[in-house]
Symmetry: C2
Subunit: 422 residues, 2 copies
Amino acid sequence: MTTPWNQRYALRMQNMGSSLIRELLKITQDPEIISFAGGLPAPDVFPVKAFEEASCRVLRKHGSQALQYSATEGYLPLRRWIVDHMAAYGINANVDNILITSGSQQALDLIGKVMINPGDLILTEKPTYLGALQAWRAYQAEYTSIPIDNDGLQTEYLEEALCGGPKFMYILPNFQNPGGVTLSLERRLELIETADRYGIPIVEDDPYGELRYEGEHIPPLVVLDAQRQEGQPEFSNGHGFMRGNVIYISTFSKTLAPGLRLAWIVAPSEVINRCVMAKQGMDLHTSSFVQMTAYEVLKGDFFKNHVHLIRRVYDERRQVMLDALEQYFPPGTHWTHPQGGLFLWATLPQEIDTLALMPKAVENKVAYVPGSAFYPDGTGHNTFRLNFSNAKPEMIELGIRRLGQVVQAELNKRESPEMTFA
Amino acid sequence: MTTPWNQRYALRMQNMGSSLIRELLKITQDPEIISFAGGLPAPDVFPVKAFEEASCRVLRKHGSQALQYSATEGYLPLRRWIVDHMAAYGINANVDNILITSGSQQALDLIGKVMINPGDLILTEKPTYLGALQAWRAYQAEYTSIPIDNDGLQTEYLEEALCGGPKFMYILPNFQNPGGVTLSLERRLELIETADRYGIPIVEDDPYGELRYEGEHIPPLVVLDAQRQEGQPEFSNGHGFMRGNVIYISTFSKTLAPGLRLAWIVAPSEVINRCVMAKQGMDLHTSSFVQMTAYEVLKGDFFKNHVHLIRRVYDERRQVMLDALEQYFPPGTHWTHPQGGLFLWATLPQEIDTLALMPKAVENKVAYVPGSAFYPDGTGHNTFRLNFSNAKPEMIELGIRRLGQVVQAELNKRESPEMTFA
C-alpha cells in the first residue's frame, strides 16, 4: 500500500494554502514585465565588491571556523556589532538580548513557535505583512486587526481589540509593509501605554527603520517602552536590558542584501533563551560563513556610508513613482506618501477588484500585489501594493504609465454602460 | 504591567527543555578538552581554498543574483546537480523531487511541520538522532521506539510497533547516529515490505551514506521502495519520480562543510510542494549566496575527489579509536564497529551512569555525549556516543586513554567495597 500522502499532512497545513506572492513572483520573473510586486531591493546597489573581498578575507583568515558548526545564538562579533548598531538607533541591549536569525521570516516563525498555541488571537494592523500572517497560520493563529491610516495604527480602536485577549500585537511602525505609512509619536506612546496597561506584548517589525527619506526619526516602540518601564522597580533583573513588553525584529535584507538571509531579534534575555532553544531544533544555527562574511563587510564605516547610498537611490525612485502616479493615474485613485521604506499603497474606486485586474496588468507587462493578500480578513479588494526600490527610475515611470492605462481602461469599461445613456 | 513572559509561551515549549548537546558543546569549546562529543567534521579537510575561489567567482559573475532573494525550492543548477548526484547513488529523481533546506535540521523541522499533529506517534530507532527528537517534540510528537543491534533496527519488533499506528518511521540506515551501526539489506527489505503493507511512510535520514570505509554499499530504503513500487500500477503519476513511502534526507554538512547549512529532501513531488509552502513561512529560502557558492565548488570532479579524501582521513581516525578502545578500555565495556560515518557507540557495565560520569570526564579533559539523550524513553544510562571525525589521530589516542582511565576509576570505586572484604 503506497502512502496516501494527502491523508498524512498535519492539520496546520490545511490552513496554509498556496502563497499568492510566491506565484506572483514566479510570473514576474519574465524580464519584460516591470514588476512592482516583489519587495526586492535594487540589485544595482548591492555591495558586491565588498562581499567579494570580505568572503576572501574570512576564508583566508578563519576558513575552518567559517565552514564549521557554530553557536545557535549567532557569531559573537556580529552580535556585538548589532549591540552597537542598536545603541546608535536608541535601543539599549547587550549581547544576551540579541539572537541572529536566518532572515526576519525565521524570526517571525520562531516567535510563532515560542508563543502561539492553536486558536490564539494575534492582533495586527490592517493591512499587514503577508509573511507574518503566513508564518503564524502554520501555528493555527487566529487574527484580529485594526485599520491603519496615514498615521499608522488607529489607536482609538485599540482598547476594544485588546479586550479580545490577543496573545500579542504585531506592529510595523516605520514605512509599514504594505501600507508605506508611519506610526506617529503620539500614537506610539498611546500604544505603549495601552499595551502596558493590558500586559499584552508587542512584536515590533522594523526592516526599514534606517531607510527614511524625509521627516524626523521617531523612536521605535522598544525604546519608548524601555523609557516607560525605567521608572518601575521590576525593570532591571540584572540578566538582560529590560523586562519590557516588546520583541524587536530587524534585518540586513534591505540594507546589505536579502540573499544572505540574515536578521536579528532584540528581546529580554529570557525570551531570547526560549528562541535559542526553538531555533536549535529548526536549523541549529544560521550559516557561519554568511555571518562572518557579513561582519567583515559591516566593520568600520562601510555600513553607514552604504545606507546613505541606498537612501539616495530609493528616495529618487520613490519621487519618480509619486510623480508618475500623479501624472498617469485616473481621478478617484489614491495612494500613500511613504517617508521611507520600499512600498506605497494604492486604493482604487470600490468597484475595481485588483486581484481580478491582475491578468490585465500582466498582459500589459506590469505587476503589483493585490491588496487582499495583506488583509487578515480578506477585505481590501480595491487596493494594491507597489514597490519602488527594485526598478530603475525610467522603468518606474513606464510601469506606472502602463498601470495607469490598465486602471483607466477598467474604469472606462465600467462607466461605458452609463455612457451609452449620456 | 510588564509582560509576564513565562505565562506567554506556547504549550509546545514546555516539552522542549534545554538541550544537553548544546550545553555540552559549550563546555567542550575549552581547547584543552579532547572532545568526542560533537558531530563535528574535521576542519583540516574543509575545502577552504575551493570555497575562496568559488565565492569570488560567484560574486564576480553573478553578484546581484547571489545577494538577491531567490526561489524557495532552491537554486535550480544546484537542484539539478543533486538530481545527478542522487542518480549516481541509485536514486531516480527529477528536480521536482528536490528541495534545498537550511541544513538537514531544517528538513526535520519541515517534515514535522508538514506531518505532525499534537499527540502523533513517531516510530524511531533506539537510540536515535537527538536533533530529530528535539525538532519533533516542538510539534508535540510522542515517540515509540525499537532497539537496534549490530545490524540496525531489530525488525522482529516492527509489526507490533506499527500496530500502534505511528504517523511515520524515522530511520538512519547507514552508520547510524548515534549507534554507528548499519541496517542490513535483509532487514531493509523487510522494513520496506512491512511499511508498504501497513501504509506507514518512512523518513530516511542519510547524512553519512557517502562515507563508507569498509564493506559493500547497501541500497538506501528509498531505492528499495521504488523497486518494490515499480510493479504496481499507481507507481508513476507523471508528476514526480514516484508515489513511494519514503522521504529521503541528505546533507552537505559532512561532505563539504556544516557551516554552510545546506541539505536537501528527496520525496514525491506532492510532498515537496507541501514542504515548499511550509519553508516559505519559515525562512523564505536558503541563502542564495551559499547555494551558488556550493554549486560552484561542486561542479566538475571536485566533489568525488573530496569525498575520497574525507574517507581516507576518517577511516584512519576510526581505526585509531577502535585500537585505542581495545587498548585502554577496561573489560566489561563494549562498543560498535562502524563501517562508516562519524560515530561509535559504547556500552559500559550497567552500574555506571554516563551522565553522572560526565563531570569526571571533563575534569580529565575529555568529553562524550551521554547516551540517555538519544533514547526517546530516557533509558540508555550506561551508554555514550563517541565521535571520531573531529580530533586528530594522536588526540584520539590520548583522549581514549583518558576516558579509559575515567571509566576504570569509576569501576574501581564501585568494586572497592567488595575488595575490602577480599
